[in-house]
Amino acid sequence: MRNLLNFLAKYNNLIIFLILEGIAIYLLSTGNNYHNSRVVKGIQGVTRGVEKRISNTRSYFRLREINQELAAENTSLKSTVEKLKNKEDLLFFSVSDTIYHQQYTYTSARVIDNSVNKQKNFFTIDKGEKNGLSVDMAVTSAEGIAGVIVGCSENYSVAMSLLNLDFRISARIKSNGYFGSLNWDGRDFKYAMLSEIPQHVPVSVGDTIETTGFSAIFPEGIMIGTVYNFENPGGNFYKIEILLKTDFKKLYFVNVLGNMQKEEQIELEELFQ
């Protein structure tokens, strides 16, 4: 017994160190999966208030820029409405039942916490389950894609940013339809990498890259970015660097897109796997 006490007294610091390090590693391994961590959800309520205040202050300084962005989006929406109006005026008046054809729901939200300087970036938006949001919904900015929701509380949601080493999305070259897999390489928040494009495909700098809609999360044809640079590393595939259209450093107003037919698509796909 005395030996044991001596041992504990001699190595007590090492033991405390190992215990604390163990707790930290345990938290690290369970806590970073945003959806299944109750700890994070519980405690983050405390820091949320501070973050919201910071975001409010910051947005105040950027009002002019935000207004311009909204005005630009407004203009483009108006022009779309005008086009649709003209269609209706042709010859017959047709009733199109939009409810049956609507596949995606749109919710607008504000980003209240965001980062671009980590390897695994997440951002928080100010809408949650109360507003009909749920896990696996797509998040887009006015310019292009931004991320995917990975966790929802009542009033807030956390989304995995495209700037996350774990983020993967199927993307294609708009001009010829060849698709590959897009992910971020952890270097610069302005660029992402597109892989799995075979070498016989014509690629040129400036080509538009958009989503394919294969994943049932993002709708087809949402802008991602343009080809910035591509090289031929010697295998079967190109290594293509994409200049992202969304500026993640000033992400503020976002749209959340929910696919109403997602379950149907996934169920059907699972039948054949």
Binding site: F17, I25, L27, L28, Q44, T47, V116, F122, G186, K249
Partner: protein, 168 residues
């Protein structure tokens, strides 16, 4: 006793605010993000008992984790820093030992001592932190570059803060 708890509590809050409000918003490319909150571990008194240092380190890291949404990452790196601090201090102790009741500050032990002290602990902390963040060994050298560049910036800011604190 109460007085010093209050004093360190205030320093703690100031450093946290500085880190969360200012330094977390600094980005020079993806390579440099300084973590200056580790200065709190550096400036605790020389004679603090090791177990208390470890526990303080754990909660310092946990506080930053809550703000950054990376539960456990900073806690684990900071506990490591807290664990090595007594060993580092023993290794680089000045010729006549540490004055009882003193802070490990630049004004008492000199610039060179403070630089070595800060450099060692910040490097250990940043190495643990950045490798835990990526959690893979691909791009080993790129992470190493991030560790070195970020450490340089952290050390510079910590020394500037130390000047502001003591070097009047």
């Amino acid at each position: 006793m109460i007085n010093s708890i209050l004093r360190y509590g205030l320093i703690f809050i100031l450093l946290m605010l500085l880190q969360v409000l200012l330094f977390n918003n600094i980005e020079f490319s993806g390579y440099i993000n300084p973590w200056i909150y580790i200065m709190f571990i550096l400036l605790l008194p020389c004679e603090i008992s090791s177990w208390l240092l470890l526990i303080i380190a754990f909660f310092t890291g946990l506080t930053i984790d809550l703000f950054c949404g990376s539960l456990g990452m900073h806690a684990s790196a900071t506990v490591l820093a807290g664990f090595v601090r007594p060993h580092v201090m023993r290794l680089i102790s000045p010729r006549d030992g540490y004055e009882p009741g003193s802070d490990p500050s630049m004004i008492i032990y000199g610039f060179k001592w403070y630089l070595i002290y800060t450099l060692t602990i910040v490097l250990i902390h940043h190495t643990a932190l950045f490798y835990l963040e990526v959690f893979r060994l691909t791009d080993f050298f790129r992470t190493l570059l991030r560790v070195i560049l970020s450490s340089l910036f952290s050390i510079t800011f910590i020394i500037l803060l130390e000047y502001a604190r003591k070097g009047k």
